[in-house]
Amino acid sequence: MTAASTTDTAPAAKMDTHKDRQARIYGVVLIALAVLVVLVFGYGTAGDASFGLSRPRDAWVLPNLVIPAGPFNYVAAAILAFLGARQFLRGGAKWSTVSIAIGLAITVAAFLVWATAGKSFSLVGMLQATMVRAVPIALGGLAGVLCERVAVVNIAIEGMLLAGAFTGALMGSLLGGWGGLAAAVVIGGLFGFILAALVVTYRMDQIIAGVVINLFVLGVTSYVSSQVFAEYRFLNNAPVFRSFKIPLLGDIPVIGPMLFNQNLFVYGALILVGVATYYLFYTRYGLRARSVGEHPRAADTLGINVYRTRYINVTLGGMVAGFGGAWFTLGTVGRFDENMTGGRGFIGLAAMIFGRWHPVGALSAALVFGFADSLQQKLALLRTPIPSEFLAMAPYIATIVVVAGFVGRSRPPAADGKPYVKE
């Protein structure tokens, strides 16, 4: 009640109760999932679910994975109920994240088995699609990581992806695929540079700057698309990078088609994630970049040029986003449509937060989103009674849950979003 109650012990105690409460909430969520699995996915479900693990022309053909749907889902519900009860009674934050992750995975598996009961479903095809759909999200998230590590919030990823997609289509039509790809990267970098100029030099609010770049890119690309592309169709007809199989590795069952039989963009994304991780955490330049993001004044005092570091990293982030944007045109259909990125950049931003501002984390989160995305596509074929709109909503709702549930434990760079004024 009095001022004395806000001493050092109070926050710690409060934090404990908060964790306890959270653990109990997780427990309730898990039990609710168990009930859901029993009532909806388990009860009255008959037949076997057959998952294809390889395709007919693969080097090694695995037999289909056949699961009896009803029993599987009852077992799944039992595991969920056990995890939930344990979580609820024992509390403790130690296992809660793991429990909820396992719980969600089991729920998704139960859902898949229920939807596939009596039918067959190509698991390997879906995993391959997951990887493909994760690419723009992962690259968007990676662009976000590069920017936010130097404390520049990049809402403009969406616009950069769109600019990359547009430029990829336009220049790809004129110069061929590689020319288009290079131009997309350059344009992405240009918008990164513009963002850096607006927020570093002109000290514009970072979120406003990002929103404005999004609006501007959407305006320009839609304008040119309806004003020019509609008339001169040859300008919007770029070649597509086909997928190619890496010898030997591509023949590994399940993983092969997912990782080693893809197009340039998938390989590029994987390599970039590795390079970015190395750059940020194992080179002196990465250390400098991170110090600018955590404590720019200290970095400045030590002789690091804060402004230049921000310019360089945000431009690099823009280039990554431009590359990711090219996926939309050069990696899929070779044609640009108005607003074709459809919010992927924002999901990339969420992937960055989910991935705790780490390139590998962003990639993992992007895979989760890609999984949800491809799941929704495939489920439309299975004719589940759930309306496809709600399935399409799942990634967005998942994002909200993730941002709400995990943001407390994942910490952004300390100076994130704050402009730095050199004294």
Binding site: M204, A209, F216, G219, Y223, S226, F346, A392, I397, G405
Partner: protein, 379 residues
């Protein structure tokens, strides 16, 4: 030399004291005017770059002017386009004042519009004096609740409202598509996603049909004016408004002063969403008289620009909304007359915001238009 600079400094200081509004005047009037001019010039350059000849460019800007203020019909169109922009912009401005960057006006408009249209077609035989306000309120409540989700998550878990509102936007489109396909929602005899029509008793009556039946200006303009006054009162004359502004300017100080940050966040988001929902209700009750896919048509995003351009001040938002409404009405005319795509308008709008939000940039482009920045005094 030093003597003259000293004198200049003294004169400036005196001027400052005599006309304290000089700096604010520059910020509020000169920067926006320069911003609009530069944006139009850059727009012309973009048209040139896409192989449009000078004559067409001149014709399109003439059409832009005529289509926005050139006739009674043009003014009616400008006002009609401005109504939802101002309403949603007010909501966003309120959020900005409270330190919340609500990108979700679009989703709140969609949800508000859905609620308003449902009430609008569901209650036959109600007198309009009950039915129309009821539909408007339904829109406001739905929008407010939808925005409160983001507000609650921000207050309870710290989830950043930018991300959550964007996700709620994306979800709202899917919700709309789903609802428009429902049996009781879809217009009988139609296979495409169109809702039933709003009953006449719930429609916002058109005001100028006596002069010309094509004039679309509707009673939503009174809602808009009332909202401007109400938000002005709320922000500047009430304790709640003071709390909004205080926690927006300095959240820590507000918390130490005993203001309940969580309540303020939820309430500010809810009010903002209610205003955006009202904008959606205005669109379906006053303009479209039904809900269609994409009826929000980006109003929620343009409203962000309107709120920024209006400096998050209710009166500023009103004028900014009128300007953007004029650009939109003029843009349609431009598309018809000169064959220039209306997407050019969104480029111009984005450019205006760049120059507004980065006053340093405008000052760098037009060094002669402003007082010399007094080093050390400002910022």
């Amino acid at each position: 030399m030093s003597d003259t600079t000293n004198q200049q400094g003294l004169v400036q200081e005196l001027l400052q004291r005599a006309a304290p509004g000089r700096a604010e005047f520059e910020d509020l009037v000169i920067v926006p005017i320069f911003a609009v001019v530069v944006a139009l010039i850059v727009g012309a350059l973009i048209m040139l770059a896409t192989a449009i000849d000078l004559e067409t460019i001149g014709r399109s800007y003439l059409a832009l002017l005529q289509g926005s203020v050139g006739s009674l019909n043009a003014i009616s169109e400008t006002l009609t386009s401005a109504i939802p922009l101002v309403l949603a912009g007010l909501g966003l401005a309120l959020g900005f004042r409270a330190g919340l960057f609500n990108i979700g006006a679009e989703g709140q408009i969609v949800v508000g519009g859905i609620a308003a249209v449902i009430v609008g077609f569901s209650f036959p035989n109600l007198p309009w004096i009950i039915h129309m306000p009821m539909a408007l309120i339904a829109g406001a409540v739905a929008g407010g609740l939808y925005a409160s989700i983001a507000g609650y998550l921000r207050a309870a878990t710290g989830a950043h409202e930018v991300i959550t509102t964007i996700m709620l936007n994306l979800s709202s489109y899917l919700l709309l598509t789903y609802m428009l396909g429902l049996d009781w929602m879809q217009r009988p005899g139609r296979s495409d996603p169109v809702s039933k029509s709003v009953l006449p008793s719930a429609q916002l009556p058109r005001l100028l049909t006596d002069i010309d039946p094509n004039l679309r200006l509707h009673a939503g303009i009174f809602v808009m004016i009332a909202a401007v006054i109400l938000v002005h009162w709320l922000l500047f004359k009430t304790k709640t408004g003071f709390e909004f502004r205080a926690s927006g300017e300095n959240p820590d100080a507000a918390r130490y002063a005993g203001m309940r940050a969580s309540m303020i966040i939820v309430f500010a988001m809810g009010t903002a969403g209610a205003l955006a929902g009202l904008a959606g209700a205005n669109q379906v009750l006053g303009v479209l008289e039904r809900a269609t896919p994409g009826f929000s048509s980006g109003i929620g995003f343009n409203a962000i620009s309107v709120a920024l351009l209006g400096r998050s001040h209710p009166i500023g938002v009103l004028f900014a909304g009128l300007l953007f409404g004029a650009l939109e009405a003029g843009g349609r005319q431009m598309q018809v007359d000169a064959g220039v795509s209306i997407d050019l308008i969104s480029i111009i709008q984005a450019l205006i915001i760049v120059f507004i939000a980065a006053p340093l940039l405008v000052r760098a482009i037009f060094p002669w238009g402003f007082q010399k920045p007094e080093t050390g005094r400002k910022e």
